[in-house]
């Protein structure tokens, strides 16, 4: 129905092509033997990188509180056969490699990390864009459940973003299935050799086993996509036949049921797909934490696409009060995210229990910049910029803050996944950027294709009139 100019059709294809090439290079250039790793490490040492890194580690140790306690934690976790903590402990002491065997083991370990790296980069980007569409789906359902009057003008934008849920979900599922079939080693608990020596994972194997894991993943995806299918169907039918609001009432009921199902399934999804990267570690508010991240990213993308469409002359009835409301959500949910992030951090930091605190020790020591930089991007910047009421109505400020928030939440997911999969061998390089480009391209392609399939105004919605007159 609506046609977009050619550049918005060419851009995603270019992005996807660039992303594919970059990812291919990333996979090919991953080391395949310990000899390769030795060379890589040697070249790093020659650059003085190793020493600088060690010094850096030392500084962060000093700066972060209770360095001694943390080192103990490292040692304990290493006894627990957690390969990653072992590596981290070793990495800190890499200048005291006395035995040749230890050196060999270390090389093997780095090899695994570097082999994981392109996979982890792929997974993070795939999950990030998938979670945006899921966050938007929840936001959409909330609008119906709350019978919101301000937002129906934006419904078609939200519906189009959720179109990515199915392709994005399938891609994430395929990556999880590949892990399950041992084509990559993202999840340590999937390795039977690790489980054989690990009592903690053995105790959890009733939940953490590959068949059940994949069945659960399929169930979550099915449940969300079923809601998405019917929500779109009811919304279109309401346009065709607004008499009596029959379809609107169905949308309302479907949204209410979905929200209940979602909050349970999302929690479990976050344990499965993210928290199980560190199978020893657990956090009871992890589901909420991941939810906050997906929610704020989703709302930000709604705002960005709305601003873009408006700048191209679509969505004439959307006024700056709608933008203002979206920006208020971006502001509020950013603070909500920080609240959860800090609640999780503070309790674990304060109690300092070895098996819990390793999670943050690895992040603060090995991921100092992304860990603290993320707080600046996700809290301080949006807080200070969006605090001003007038700024929430200015399009270029929304775009600026929106991009910063999206980068911040990409790094948030990066911090959730990378420490457990590649440990201290992380770097935001070609594989990471290419994966983001590829999925960004796919996302834009799917979303803008979906935008052309229906009228940009949900003409049958009973609250559309109120939304058009919305003024604050």
């Amino acid at each position: 129905m609506n046609t977009f100019k050619n550049n918005i059709k060419i851009l995603p294809i270019v992005l996807m092509a660039l992303g594919l090439i970059g990812m291919a290079i990333g996979f090919i250039s991953a080391p395949s033997s310990i000899e390769d790793v030795e060379q890589i490490l040697a070249s790093q040492h020659h650059d003085g990188h190793g020493e600088a890194h060690a010094a850096e580690n030392h500084d962060t140790h000093k700066a972060s509180h209770g360095a001694e306690a943390h080192n103990d934690a490292h040692a304990e976790k290493a006894h627990g056969h957690d390969a990653h903590a072992k590596h981290n402990a070793k990495h800190n002491d890499k200048h005291v490699e006395d035995a040749h065997g230890a050196h060999e083991k270390h090389l093997h370990h780095v090899l695994h990390q570097l082999q994981n790296k392109p996979w982890a980069a792929l997974y993070i980007a795939a999950f990030f864009f998938f979670m945006i569409s899921l966050g938007v789906l929840v936001f959409y359902a909330i609008q119906f459940a709350a019978q919101a009057g301000w937002s129906p003008l934006l419904f078609r934008v939200m519906e189009a973003i959720t179109a990515y849920l199915l392709p994005g979900g399938i891609i994430v599922f395929i990556i999880l299935a590949l892990s399950g079939f041992h084509l990559n080693h993202l999840f340590v608990w999937m390795d039977p050799e690790v489980v054989a020596h690990d009592e903690l994972i053995q105790g959890k194997s009733g939940w953490l086993n590959v068949p059940f894991f994949l069945i659960r993943a399929a169930l979550y995806l099915a449940a969300w996509n079923v809601y998405r299918h019917f929500a779109i169907k009811f919304s279109r039918k309401q346009d065709e036949d607004p008499e009596g609001n029959v379809w609107y009432k169905k949308s309302f009921k479907a949204a209410a049921v979905f929200l209940v199902v979602f909050i349970y399934s999302e929690s479990m999804m976050s344990w499965d797909w993210i928290m199980s990267f560190d199978p020893h570690w657990f956090s009871t508010l992890f589901g909420w934490y991941v939810f906050a991240s997906m929610f704020v990213s989703g709302i930000t993308v709604i705002a960005l696409i709305t601003v873009y469409l408006k700048s191209k002359g679509y969505l004439e009835k959307v006024n700056n009060s709608h933008i203002h409301d979206l920006a208020k959500f971006m502001f509020g949910i950013s603070i909500f995210w920080t609240y959860l992030w800090f609640s999780q951090f503070m309790l674990i930091w304060y109690s300092d229990i070895p098996e819990e605190v390793t999670y943050f020790v690895t992040r603060i020591n090995d991921y100092t910049l992304p860990f603290f930089g993320m707080v600046a991007l996700n809290l301080i910047f949006p807080l200070l910029v969006l605090m001003n009421s007038d700024f929430k109505r200015i399009n270029w400020i929304i775009v600026l803050v929106g991009v910063v928030i999206l980068v911040g939440h990409y790094i948030d997911i990066f911090n959730m996944v990378m420490p457990a999969t590649v440990g201290s061998s992380w770097f935001i390089g070609l594989p990471e950027i290419s994966a983001v480009l590829f999925f960004l391209g796919l996302f834009i392609f799917v979303v803008f294709k979906a935008l052309t399939k229906a009228d940009l105004e949900a003409t049958g919605n009973p609250f559309l009139g109120e939304s058009k007159h919305f003024h604050y």
């Binding site: 700066a63 509180h65 209770g66 306690a69 800090f342 951090f345 503070m346 930091w349 304060y350 109690s351 300092d352 605090m387 009421s389 003024h471 604050y472």
Partner: protein, 174 residues
Amino acid sequence: MASKVAHAYYLDDEVLMDAVRACNIKHYHIEEVYTPFPVHGLDKLMGLPHTRLAICAFMYGLIGLTVAVTMMNYIMIEDWPQNIGGKPSFSFLENMPAFVPIMFELTVFFAAHLMVITFYMRSKLWPFKKAENPNERTTDDLFCIELDASKLGEDELSSFLKDTGAVEINFKNN
């Protein structure tokens, strides 16, 4: 200064808004509008300047944050350092995460309370203050526009206000 005001009463906020628009078109000077609840958009119609309370709130928040930091630094670090949970408090920075809830709460506390007090002072409200409403029903279900009537004829103004939907019109000399 001897002046005369007209009080026009309305039963509905939408009617009131239209009446204010009509007054604006005629360039009648509205002194004040009394409503039982905040009416959205009324401030813009009346041409009231944007509130500066938000700026105060921000500064009060900063004061609260400063008080919290100073207080926690004095109590927990300087005056009586303790070793809580294996975290000896010899440095503010190293113990900072434990103080964040206090810093947050005091920021909110200062911002909220000082903002309310500022609002009362700015609106000239204090305990035992006598109400200024022309009619106490403006706190219940009536909306009232107070117009400057010193330069206008009573009859002309009455008929104009009747047309805007006023249910009662009084003139008052103060």
